[in-house]
């Protein structure tokens, strides 16, 4: 999985310039139910994986989210 592309997509969803792997998702102002829905949509359309709500809620950083999607892809 191209993680750089993943962080770019995440930045677009959060409407900011850049997302760093160590960034905490909850710290972004735009990290809300709409952003979570957008992440689900991106995971489905770009990576063909389905993520559960509790899985998204359990991750803290952007890197953990990327790892979750990557792990599901395998």
């Amino acid at each position: 999985m191209d993680k750089i592309k993943f962080y770019e997509q995440l930045a677009k969803i959060l409407d900011i310039e850049e997302v760093k792997p160590e960034d905490t998702l909850k710290d972004f102002e735009a990290w809300d139910s709409l952003a979570i829905l957008s992440v689900l949509a991106m995971a489905d359309s770009t990576y063909g994986v389905a993520i559960k709500a509790e899985e998204i809620r359990s991750v803290v950083t952007a890197a953990e989210l990327a790892n979750l999607v990557e792990a599901k892809k395998k």
């Binding site: 409407d15 735009a30 139910s33 689900l40 709500a53 998204i56």
Partner: protein, 357 residues
């Protein structure tokens, strides 16, 4: 479950919407959203306006009004009505069935079948299936399918997650026999193990109504809900819609011998434009063949979204000629149904405002 119905057709559809229309731009301060967040929400969900019934107007009122219009305009005669099938999650009473209440208000004869079905999102297609079955096993002249939902009454009006996407509506569909074979292909699926994904937890008998069940709780920042409101697990519903529905549509097209090209319209249940665009992309169906505008203009009105989709997006075409249509509905249950059939020319295919005299 797959089935083919033959020698049956839809002959008329009328949708009824409350005339009270509310715009997101006027309502968003109610939802305690900042202007920025409101703009983001509006853009992502293509929110514009929705129709909301006043407190005294029930689902059955919208349906009865539509039925009276068909009778007054001469599309249908009272003596042709063999059955009233009322599909709703917002009935008038726990008992008697709302179809009996409507039967009484119309003064229909004693030989008419009255049947209530508790379904939401798939309610139009499940109702069609029931209508086809009734025609198959009886000599009933015509079946009248009534779909009505006033879901706005099942939520807090300040709930930004549900309320701006919701609408109230009713519809009346007339189903009858026809000489032409007109095969109708259906696939129906249920998964009750996921029934908690969309539910109203309290207010019936598993958890009766008490002051406690009516107490508003904050479920998300600024979002209030009580146990008698609709609860939805957004992520579970998203994964269900994207995971289970496209394969069923493919499967139904294979069953009917169609391709995505031979189908002229994909008329789907309308939960929100975002998920419908996502589905169209996933299935590689051009957006113009899969309308997603019902929630933006009327709101998600549960089992009435498909009749509204037909009458709003294809009304004029279907009054003149026939179209090959793939229907698909998915949601509460969880249940998902797809159907392929030719529809039209219809005697009536229109939307009217609810304006009782």
């Amino acid at each position: 479950m797959k089935n083919i119905f033959k020698n049956k057709k839809i002959s008329a559809i009328i949708s009824v919407v409350p005339k009270e229309e509310y715009r997101f731009d006027d309502e968003y301060p109610l939802f305690k959203l900042t202007e920025d967040k409101a703009k983001r929400f509006k853009k992502m969900m293509s929110l514009d306006r929705h129709r909301i019934a006043p407190p005294e107007v029930c689902s059955s009122d919208l349906c009865l009004y539509g039925l009276q219009r068909l009778l007054n305009e001469g599309t249908l005669k009272k003596e042709e009505i063999g059955a009233l099938v009322f599909v709703s999650q917002t009935p008038d009473y726990f008992m008697p069935p709302t179809s009996n209440v409507i039967h009484g208000k119309l003064g229909l004869g004693h030989d008419v079948v009255c049947l209530d079905i508790n379904q939401g999102c798939t309610g139009f297609l499940l109702g069609l299936m029931q209508a086809f079955l009734l025609l198959e096993i009886s000599a009933l002249p015509k079946v009248v399918l009534l779909n009505g939902d006033t879901c706005s009454k099942q939520m807090d009006k300040c709930n930004r997650v549900s309320y701006p996407l919701t609408g109230d509506a009713g519809s009346v569909t007339v189903i009858e026999r026809c000489e032409a074979e007109n095969p109708i292909y259906m696939d129906l699926k249920n998964d009750g193990s996921r029934h908690k994904a969309i539910m109203v937890p309290a207010g019936a008998y598993r958890m009766p109504s008490t002051p406690e069940t009516l107490k508003l709780r904050e479920v998300d920042e600024g979002v209030l809900q009580n146990l008698e409101h609709i609860h939805m697990d957004g992520a579970a519903i998203f994964n269900f819609t994207m995971g289970d529905v496209p394969p069923q549509i493919d499967d139904t097209l294979a069953f009917s011998g169609d391709t995505k090209n031979s189908i002229e319209y994909f008329l789907l249940h309308q939960p929100n434009p975002f998920i419908l665009k996502q589905m169209a992309d996933k299935m590689k169906i051009p957006q113009e063949k899969l309308p997603n505008n019902i929630v933006s203009l009327f709101g998600n009105c549960s089992s009435v979204t498909i009749p509204l989709n037909i009458t709003f997006n294809c009304g004029e075409h279907l009054q003149r000629e026939s179209r090959r249509i793939c229907f698909s509905a998915f949601g509460v249950g969880l249940a998902w149904i797809s159907m392929v059939m030719n529809v039209g020319p219809l005697k009536v295919c229109k939307i009217v405002d609810y304006e009782p005299v």
